[in-house]
């Protein structure tokens, strides 16, 4: 192998050291727990044999071991807090780096756009061009409507009359049916 250098950074090694310390404490706790369990067993046996003094001794030893456990708990917590802080700091570093990259790219894009003045000038030119087009359309459109407006209105009136006529032929007004009895 040996193609590229190790992908393990110095920070990874530091984290590994912290975690190894945590593991050692963890193992120590397990050892102590085994001892405390045994002391409880011994205490029980002694009581069964009626040896109260020895039982008390066993329980005292167990109490001491339990305080050791509590102390290591505190230390473990410290270690784990520190490990988390280091890991979090690494994440933050990545975030800052990401921001840097993003900002750099944004700036490049702005530069490509030519700057604010250029954009303003461009917008102005676009507005002029659109206004010009509007004028031309109005001129062309306006002329047509002035000439043919009357003709179109006449055609509409004629069509309307035609439609009413056909309606009349289809449905001529029928005499109304008497609603009272006819006198015979």
């Amino acid at each position: 192998m040996g193609n590229n250098s190790s992908r393990v950074t110095a920070q990874d090694k530091a984290i590994l050291d912290l975690k190894t310390q945590r593991d050692k404490l963890h193992q120590y706790q397990r050892r102590i727990t085994v001892l405390t369990d045994r002391e409880t067993q011994i205490a029980r046996q002694m009581l069964a044999q009626g040896d109260k003094k020895r039982a008390l001794l066993a329980l005292r030893r167990k109490k001491y071991q339990e305080t050791l456990l509590a102390k290591t708990d505190g230390q473990l917590e410290q270690l784990e807090k520190l490990t988390s802080s280091v890991e979090f700091a690494l994440i933050q570093k990545d975030v800052v780096f990401g921001l840097q990259q993003g900002t750099r790219v944004l700036k490049e894009i702005h530069a490509e756009m030519g700057g604010i003045d250029h954009v303003e000038k461009l917008m102005g030119e676009t507005a002029d061009a659109i206004a010009y087009q509007q004028e031309v359309s109005e001129m062309l459109g306006g002329r047509i409507s002035n000439q043919d407006e009357d003709e179109v209105e006449n055609e509409l009136a004629a069509l309307e009359a035609e439609v009413n006529m056909t309606a009349q032929i289809r449905h001529p007004s029928l005499p109304s049916v008497p609603d009272t009895k006819l006198s015979t």
Partner: protein
């Protein structure tokens, strides 16, 4: 964990412990024994077998029948061909004095590697550093299949991942760590 292992029917069948001469029967016998060995080790979460141990795997006390050492080796050989067993200490030890300790891969190193990778993926620990100790003994893996895995077998599984470029092991002996990519 402490539930007794459910032995298959053939375990109560005396001829099962005698090497069969008929080829077809012998093959069936080997197949059944292999399955039994794998199931037994999986149930008790045994990663290695010591062939000289007098466990109830090869010795049925109720029947007073025991599988002979030579026949047990045949079963191991059958498993080896399937990639499910390996003599600890390498093949040299196996042929020289017939090794005693055998790895029983009810899960092969590749399968363990997949499990490890899966767990790392699930818990979002890619890119983070983990000690080998915490992978098998830590509180994080408690209740998963990884907890209590033999550390040598873990090494085998991890080297599969290292070969594939998915992980890197570093640190000193006894306090090694692994980083997953």
């Amino acid at each position: 964990m402490t539930t007794p292992f459910p032995f298959p029917r053939e375990y109560s069948f005396p001829p099962f412990f005698t090497r069969q001469t008929n080829l077809t029967t012998h093959h069936a016998q080997l197949t059944k024994w292999s399955a039994l060995v794998l199931a037994y080790c999986r149930h008790h979460r045994l990663f290695k077998l010591s062939l000289s141990d007098d466990t109830d795997l090869f010795h049925n006390r109720a029947l007073s029948r025991r599988l002979a050492l030579a026949d047990a080796r045949e079963v191991i050989e059958f498993l080896r061909k399937d990639g499910r067993a390996e003599y600890a200490g390498g093949d040299a030890a196996a042929t020289a004095d017939g090794g005693d300790v055998v790895w029983i891969y009810w899960r092969t190193p590749e399968e363990w590697a997949a499990l490890v990778e899966g767990w790392v993926e699930e818990t979002g620990q890619k890119g983070g550093v983990l000690t080998l100790y915490e992978l098998t003994e830590g509180d994080a893996t408690r209740g998963t299949e990884l907890h209590g895995l033999d550390s040598d077998l873990l090494q085998k599984a991890l080297s599969v991942l290292v070969k594939r470029g998915r992980a890197q092991i570093f640190g000193q002996e006894d306090s090694q760590g692994v980083k997953f990519f």
